[in-house]
Every structure is written in structure tokens, then in C-alpha cells.
Amino acid sequence: MSLYLHDLTYRLKRKELLKAVSCTAREGEVVGLIGPNGAGKSTLLKHLVGLIPSPLGTVMLDDVDLSRLKAAELARYIAYVSQFNTPSQATTLEVLELGRRAHSGIKLSRTDKHLIAQSVEQFDLLALLEMSVTELSGGERQKVMIASALLQEPKILLLDEPISHLDPKNQLEMLLAIHRLTREKGLITFIVLHDIQHAIHYTDRLLMLKQGTLLHDIETSHIEASMLEELFEVAASLHVSEGHTFVYYGHHHESIAQGHRH
């Protein structure tokens, strides 16, 4: 199973937010979207999820044209966890149930309840079920939103900065879980990340977006410091330690030395 994006272009008033972006992603892959603010990362996800029409481009999952599907059909292919959540008084259980509605509608079946029970166990949500999601901590809420998204049994999972509000431990756990689930369930996962360190460690492929243009589309292991410098317009260097690649940003030492002299 492969996802083909071809020629995605989006213009809002005079501004081009996406310029002919094309790429391919395969089953079991975590694809990281990185780039500066306003580069079009969220816009790209919104295209995929069908929130923004793409009159010129096409989004194909094997031979299914996703841009022609209705909301309920699309929700069975793609699950989306947005960057911002409108607060709702709904309880955790109700949020999980929402994940099954695209399949079952008005009344949940026995299968639905079984899947919900599985998800509760998998994400350890039992203690939270009766609580309103507004009462949960940031990490717990994010977990619930992702669990609900996975209950849609999607082929494609879209995550817009899913870990921004989490502490380091929760960040790592969440990223590990996303990576593992993508393998196990054969998903195609797109994830917007601001932390390049995380992007390097937990993705298989990287899409680098800048001003609506896809600068680089690489396997994560092929990342080079020059790409990051071009992308973010800051000096960057890569260091390898115990098989892991680390990024170091910022000034070259000469410029500091010069700065001191002035």
C-alpha cells in the first residue's frame, strides 16, 4: 500500500502556501514533516485530510482517489489529530466512541465495544474514562485523542505536532508508541515535528518544507547538516554518538569570538 501525493498546490488569496508538492509514502513508514513556521506543514496535512480542496493536485492511496471521498468514507482511511483542540466537556469514553462513528454511525456494535475495550487496555485509559477531557493533563488528553484516531482503523495517520505540550518522558513514550503502532498496523504516518532531534530518531523519512516548497524528500538516515542550514537558515552541525545522530544549532565559534571582540 502506497500513498501518492501529486502536484499539491494551494493558494490563499495571493499567497502560495503550497507549491506543487509531490511525494510518495509507503506502508509502515513514519514520515516526518519539518520546516520553519509557516512553511506549509499543517497546510499539507489539511490537504491530505480533505479539509482544504486540492483542485489541481491528486491524493491517491494505491488506486483510491482520496480527494473524491465523502467525510464518513474518508474518516475510515485517514485519521487526523489536530494541533489545537477545541475544549469539549465530553468524557474520555465518549471521545473513544467518536472514533467508531465513521464505521457504525448511530449505534455502536459489539465489535466497536470490543475495539474500545482493547484501546482502553492498550493506552491504559481505564482510570480516565469517566473524566471530561478538559480535566485531563496535556499528555493524557493527547493520548486519548490519538487512541480515538486509531479507533477509526485508518490506513493513514496524520499528527500535527502531537508532542508539543508534553514533558520529555511523555514525548519519548508517545513517539515510541507512534513508531511501533505504525509498524504493527501497517499505517502510513505523517507527523509534524518541531524538534529535529526527535524527527531524526523516530521517523523513517523526512519531508523538508520551506515557503510551500518541498526542499528535500529523503530517508532520515541520509540527513546532512547543509540541508538543515538551508531549511532553517541557521548554522547547524550533526554529531554521531553511539550510533545516534544529534543536531547542534547555532553560531559558528568564529562569530562568537568576533561578537566578543566588539
Binding site: A72, F84, T91, R101, I116, L126, S132
Partner: protein
């Protein structure tokens, strides 16, 4: 607590409130049957269930006055409660009510137009014909108002706050139209338009009851079947879309159905405030925000509230009967404040 127990607890809670509201409604129906100009006559219960022979005048009063009025209270309350729950859900605003989109002002304008312009033009002077015209024009104006909002939203987007602003704008436009008509007409007609706006259930008859049932049942089914879409919408339009809701189409559907519910009630009985605002809040306080229970139980709660209010309106200043619309506003405002405060304390 296991998931299984949780489902059972939720079902029990919902059924509990359903049973409570149903019993309250039965109790209030009974009270309304045995009360009239003579106050509450408990002994009439015997006549009611046929244990004591009843005179012809008792059954005449029962079937042509008390029963239609009580059923009208129940139905109007249900329509307003249902419409309020739907409006609050679809506009994502706890202050929304059946009248948020300017429906009541539009209905008032329609009625004023019928009373003032039509009676002046001598099309017909028969009072029954005039009554029907008032209802038709009030209903028509409400529908026009809703259609205008849907049409406006075509340009500015189907977003809750623009819809509410459009409703406020149209509401004051219709209100201005009413005042314009009132300014140029006779004192008697001006007074008639004013009296029409006081919600009053005494106008009930078989035709009005039948019409309300015809509107209530399909609306209840449509809105109840869509309960999960309301829940999804609470997370914002984008998230709702990704859970399988065609947001724009759904919003138009809900606006039209809940306008129909409100318009039919207002066209026959005038403006009865606060029921549509309070009923969903009361249910939400007990059961939380899931619309699977909120939609049907808000209707029941609205029915119970209005039945109770009408009973109070008839008995409070006995033998004077207040229009129930005045009473609901009197009780409704402090009740709303109480709900707000108690909700605030919970948090």
C-alpha cells in the same frame, strides 16, 4: 471500574432521568386535569378515572379546555427543549437558544404584519381567518429568517459566531420592522401585536396539537439520529469532519429542523422564553454533554418545565391566569443564574 460496568452505570443514569421526567410529566398532567377556575380539586381525580359519574360539563371542560392546554404545554415545551439542545450543540454556544437566530423577532414581525397590514386591507374580517393568517405569517417569517441566515452564511462561512451575529442582525431588523408597523397603526392593533408576543397556551385546539406532533416527531428522529455528530462538532469543525461529519450540510440541516420546531410553536402560541435555554442545561448538569441522551431528554425536560410553568401561571395569582411566557421569563432568569453558579462551583 470495568468498561462493562461503566456502560451499565451510564445506561442506568440515563434511564433514571428519563423515568424521573416521565413521572413528573404524568404528575403535572394529572394536576392540570383537576385544576381550573375552582383551583385544584383533588376529588375530580375520581371523575377523571371514571370512579365517580361525571357531569357533561366536566368532560366538556376536560376535553375542550384542560386537556388541549396541557398537551400544548407538553408539546411546545418539547419542541423548544429539543430545538434549544440542537442550537446549543450546532452553534457550540451554551447561551444559544431556539431564538438565537432571530426567530422570535421574525415571528413577531410576521404576526404584526398579519394583524396590522392584513386587517387594514380588508382581505377578510372573519376572526378565525385572521387567527390562521397570524399563525401562517409568523411561521413564514421565521422560516424566511432561517433561510436568510443560511443564505448569508453562504458568503461568510458556516461558522458558529458568524451565524450568531447574523441572527442578532436579522433579529433587530425584524424588530425594527415590527416597531415601524406599530407606530403607524391604531392603539388597538398595536396592543394586539404586543399581546400576541406574550406566550399563551390557551389557544390550543386539535388542529394546533396535530400540527405540532407532525413537526416534533421527524425533527426528534433527525436530531437524535445525528447525536454523535453534535458530539464530534464540540471538538471543532476540522476534527468533526475527520470523524465523518459533513459539517456544513449538517449545520444547515440542524438549523432548518430546529427552526421548524420553534416556528410552529411560536406561530400558534407566541413567544415563550427560557425553556429552550434551560432544559438542555439542566439535562447536561445531570448527564454530561453526550447528545445521545441530551437530545431526547432535553425535549422531555422542556415539556415538564413548561407544563409545570403553565400550572403555576394558572394557580399562582388564582383566579387571574398569567400568560405562561411571562412566568417562564420570571422563573427562567434566576434559574439560569443558579445553574451558572452551581456549574462554576463544580469546576
Amino acid at each position: 471500574m470495568s468498561l462493562h460496568l461503566l456502560y451499565r452505570k451510564r445506561t442506568l443514569k440515563r434511564f433514571g432521568l428519563f423515568a424521573f421526567l416521565s413521572l413528573t410529566i404524568i404528575l403535572l398532567l394529572w394536576l392540570n386535569m383537576i385544576s381550573g377556575t375552582g383551583g385544584v380539586v383533588v376529588r375530580d381525580t375520581l371523575k377523571l378515572i371514571g370512579l365517580e359519574p361525571s357531569s357533561g360539563s366536566f368532560s366538556m371542560i376536560l376535553f375542550s379546555i384542560r386537556l388541549p392546554r396541557a398537551l400544548a404545554g407538553l408539546l411546545v415545551g418539547m419542541l423548544l427543549g429539543l430545538s434549544g439542545a440542537a442550537m446549543q450543540g450546532v452553534l457550540r454556544n451554551p447561551l444559544a437558544s431556539p431564538f438565537t437566530l432571530g426567530i422570535s423577532q421574525a415571528a413577531g414581525f410576521g404576526a404584526a404584519f398579519a394583524i396590522i397590514a392584513l386587517s387594514a386591507s380588508d382581505i377578510s374580517t372573519h376572526p378565525l381567518w385572521l387567527k390562521l393568517n397570524i399563525a401562517l405569517f409568523a411561521f413564514g417569517a421565521s422560516i424566511v429568517c432561517a433561510l436568510l441566515i443560511v443564505w448569508i452564511s453562504h458568503f461568510v462561512g458556516m461558522i458558529p459566531h458568524t451565524l450568531i451575529l447574523a441572527g442578532v442582525g436579522l433579529g433587530s431588523l425584524f424588530h425594527a420592522g415590527t416597531m415601524f408597523l406599530q407606530y403607524f397603526t391604531s392603539d388597538i392593533n398595536a396592543a394586539a401585536t404586543l399581546f400576541w408576543t406574550f406566550g399563551d397556551l390557551s389557544k390550543a385546539n386539535a388542529m394546533t396539537l396535530g400540527a405540532m406532533v407532525l413537526f416534533l416527531i421527524p425533527s426528534l428522529l433527525y436530531l437524535w439520529a445525528a447525536h454523535w455528530k453534535f458530539d464530534a462538532l464540540a471538538f471543532g469543525d476540522e476534527n468533526a469532519f475527520n470523524k465523518g461529519v459533513e459539517v456544513k450540510r449538517f449545520r444547515i440541516g440542524v438549523i432548518l429542523f430546529s427552526t421548524l420546531c420553534t416556528a410552529i410553536a411560536v406561530a400558534f402560541f407566541g413567544i415563550i422564553g427560557f425553556i429552550g435555554l434551560i432544559a438542555p442545561h439542566a439535562v447536561r448538569l445531570v448527564l454530561g454533554s453526550a447528545h445521545g441522551a441530551l437530545i431526547p431528554l432535553s425535549a422531555l425536560c422542556g415539556g415538564a418545565l413548561l407544563l409545570g410553568a403553565d400550572f403555576a401561571a394558572r394557580m399562582l395569582l388564582h383566579p387571574v391566569t398569567l400568560p405562561v411566557g411571562i412566568l417562564t421569563s420570571f422563573i427562567g432568569a434566576p434559574l439560569l443564574l443558579y445553574l451558572l453558579v452551581s456549574q462554576g462551583r463544580r469546576r
